[in-house]
Symmetry: C2
Subunit: 442 residues, 2 copies
């Protein structure tokens, strides 16, 4: 096979080959399989977008003969050749007849993991694991989810904040805090941007968002816990109540799921067997007391002494909502103060209930939100009631001393959304590099 | 003044009043000034968008008489009244004749800082400081910069990553690392996402971006140093050299500065006295050796033993480029390996120079980037040459064992961009909540 041209053409994404003119083409990617059929060698090359069959002559001496022999699974290559239609090829009815082969870097053989490798070892070699198309897909979807959120926020005039992750004391509760050596003293890692996004309200930013890491020194090894994850946070001012905050979350989820369904609905169906459903607005909203009753009517008595919904109760409630409203989502609202943070605003109707809410999607909680208490005296007394010392939160209480609008917001775990959206049960599968009590490698 | 209607209308952003129908309107914001002219009281209310004059009757008994007396500077209020034109009012020739006043939260008087307060105390009360329109503006601009970057990345098919900030060892050099207690052992905070964005290349993600915090245990108190800042990071595969990487950075900066000039050019000029210039492409690119010569020709001999450009040399070079090319930006390329990280790729032309570059904007460095070495053996030997032990970076070297495309990227400090763009000399002014060796409050 002659060396067609010394000039390498610009690489084409493999998914774009079907519309590429037949003839000379260059693609880049990893060697996925090699099948040696004596006279010809078939090599499948995969890039981020798709895979293509490359057919190489292995009888005659060619410019690529030596390189072809060196190929291993995983080797990164640039391939130039003649793109032709070939109906019997499964990968899109196309193949590339090899003319030039450039090896970027050879993979040691064999790869350290294969499709039968257990999760823990796959995480040791996460970068190889992520090459699996279904794994790359997860992060393409994550990218689109975040982009859809941000487009909505920008359209609605939000300001993006980057709140500090290094703090002098706890952001919410004293537990699960990572402590670090900070010059001659100590500091802590933020468990959430809660206090600092509220600070933006006192600063007059009115509407803010942040997508950033949060840190929890939680020793759990469950499939849902990690010590570092990405939190999607918003906070908005001049709300009339927590329903304004829920409205915002609905707009975000509808925008994101619309985008995901449009761009990835089919491939998500084919890969994960899940149909992406764009939810109708408004989402069902059920008061906590009613939710408890619904769950009881379905034969489940919540074992928690504080009356908060446990995971089984959340599942039962979701079943009820699915049956009665045909909806995957349900907001549970108006929790009693015992099960909510001190900064959740309370009704002044004598009920003492909070303007807090959770959002449950397919039976799993994805959000805790609330209208916040923005009045200094109320906040101080609610903190005292919860046994939180003034000194601990003095800097936070200051935010409410010099005028602060009524406001509310929520946090959303990005991995939690991906797990529920794709029906993936382990947070490790939807995290770029999972961090847990005994995993900080690689 | 009669109570016009019990139903409060939906709040209007103050900047939108000029196109709002005259008549009843509601705005929300902070009290900025109060002037009591016996018969009438003038109150300036500011929201995120602008300020407006509210005129209140203080002779007759009105529904707001009691609340009006309570107003202090900084108090958060909702104001409803009659929007009228009034040519003598400086704030847009408009005023609101007060009908209803609702106090959201009263500010303690006086505010803890005023326009004469020094920076350190302003940072103690950062949320009050951020209410200054020029400070809020900084974060609106930051939001737009990031949005413009992300729009470009999305258009070019990038995947967003969230790389872990908790690591088992250093990401680059052993110095300036924060150590944290991690269950029964220790971990470190990421100084950069460098290694993990390169991992994405080994994972076949091809093009990634991340905007996230990085942590540096740097004890400096200068106006340019902090211990936590937001880094804008990209990495792309299948590059032909570092010039492909510089091309990407040019596209990003042109997109971002075009957006900023369009949306905020006038207000930046009026507020900061700076003209936003959208740079012409390509940016000038000068080899390090030539840059050293240019600086020498301008009468400055670089004092650094390793020959790297120091800040004064960068300023002189920028002057030269401004004079000869009329350009605010200059890439300095092809640094000698002594002044670059071990993972910068080197030319194989015998010069031994690296495919590394810096970007200098108005005389200040904003970026370090490079094509990276993606070949295991080369990387190992370059690390050894720099005295970096194998064990320290074994997990990183693994990324290059199983096939890795040629790739490159760079990091960009978000605050650095804002400082240069707006002519602000202290990083504390452009950081939402600055963190330094002796500041982790609030």
């Amino acid at each position: 096979m002659p060396h067609a041209s010394p000039a390498q053409s610009k690489p084409t994404a493999i998914a774009d080959l079907k519309t590429h003119p037949r003839g000379r083409v260059t693609v880049c990617g990893f060697v996925e399989t090699i099948r040696d059929h004596s006279a010809v060698v078939f090599v499948i090359i995969r890039d981020k977008t798709a895979a293509v069959q490359v057919v190489a002559d292995s009888t005659d001496e060619t410019p690529y003969t030596e390189d072809l022999k060196q190929l291993t699974i995983g080797t990164a290559v640039t391939v130039t050749g003649k793109l032709v239609d070939n109906k019997i090829v499964k990968l899109g009815g196309l193949e590339i007849q090899l003319e030039e082969l450039a090896i970027a870097s050879i993979a040691t053989s064999p790869l350290p993991i294969d499709e039968d490798t257990g999760l823990d070892k796959r995480l040791d070699w996460r970068f190889v694991d992520l090459r699996q198309p279904q794994n790359t897909l997860i992060f393409k979807i994550q990218t689109l989810l975040e982009h859809a959120f941000r487009l909505l926020w920008i359209e609605e005039g939000f300001i993006e904040i980057h709140s500090p992750k290094i703090m002098a004391s706890a952001s919410e509760s004293g537990g699960e805090l990572f402590r670090l050596d900070y010059f001659d003293g100590h500091a802590y890692l933020a468990q959430s941007p809660q206090f600092y996004k509220q600070m933006a309200m006192a600063a007059g930013f009115e509407r803010v968002f942040e997508i950033a890491p949060v840190f929890r020194a939680n020793p759990s090894f469950t499939s849902r816990h990690d010590t570092e994850f990405t939190s999607v946070d918003v906070e908005i001012s001049w709300v009339d109540g927590h329903h304004d905050v829920m409205d915002l979350e609905e707009r975000m989820l509808v925008a994101a799921l619309t985008a995901v369904k449009e761009q990835f609905g089919d491939v998500i169906h084919d890969t994960f067997g899940v149909d992406v459903v764009v939810p109708e607005r408004p989402f069902p909203r059920i008061k906590h007391a009613d939710a408890v009753q619904i769950v009881a009517d379905r034969g489940y008595s919540i074992p928690r002494a504080d009356g908060d919904l446990d995971p089984e109760a959340e599942r039962r409630l979701a079943e009820h909502v699915k049956e009665t409203h045909g909806h995957e989502f349900v907001f549970v609202t108006d929790y009693p103060p015992a099960v909510r943070a001190f900064y959740h605003m309370r009704y002044e109707d004598g009920s003492g209930l909070t303007k807090g809410f959770d959002l449950i999607w397919k039976g799993l909680e994805i959000t805790t939100g609330a209208q916040r208490e923005h009045r200094y005296d109320m906040l101080l007394s609610q903190a005292e009631e919860k046994g939180i010392g003034y000194d601990e939160i003095a800097y936070y209480l200051n935010f409410f001393k010099y005028g602060c609008p009524p406001h509310g917001g929520f946090g959303l775990g990005l991995t939690r959304i991906l797990m529920i959206l794709l029906g993936i049960r382990n947070v490790r599968e939807v995290t770029y590099l999972y961090r847990g009590p005994n995993r900080i490698h690689p």
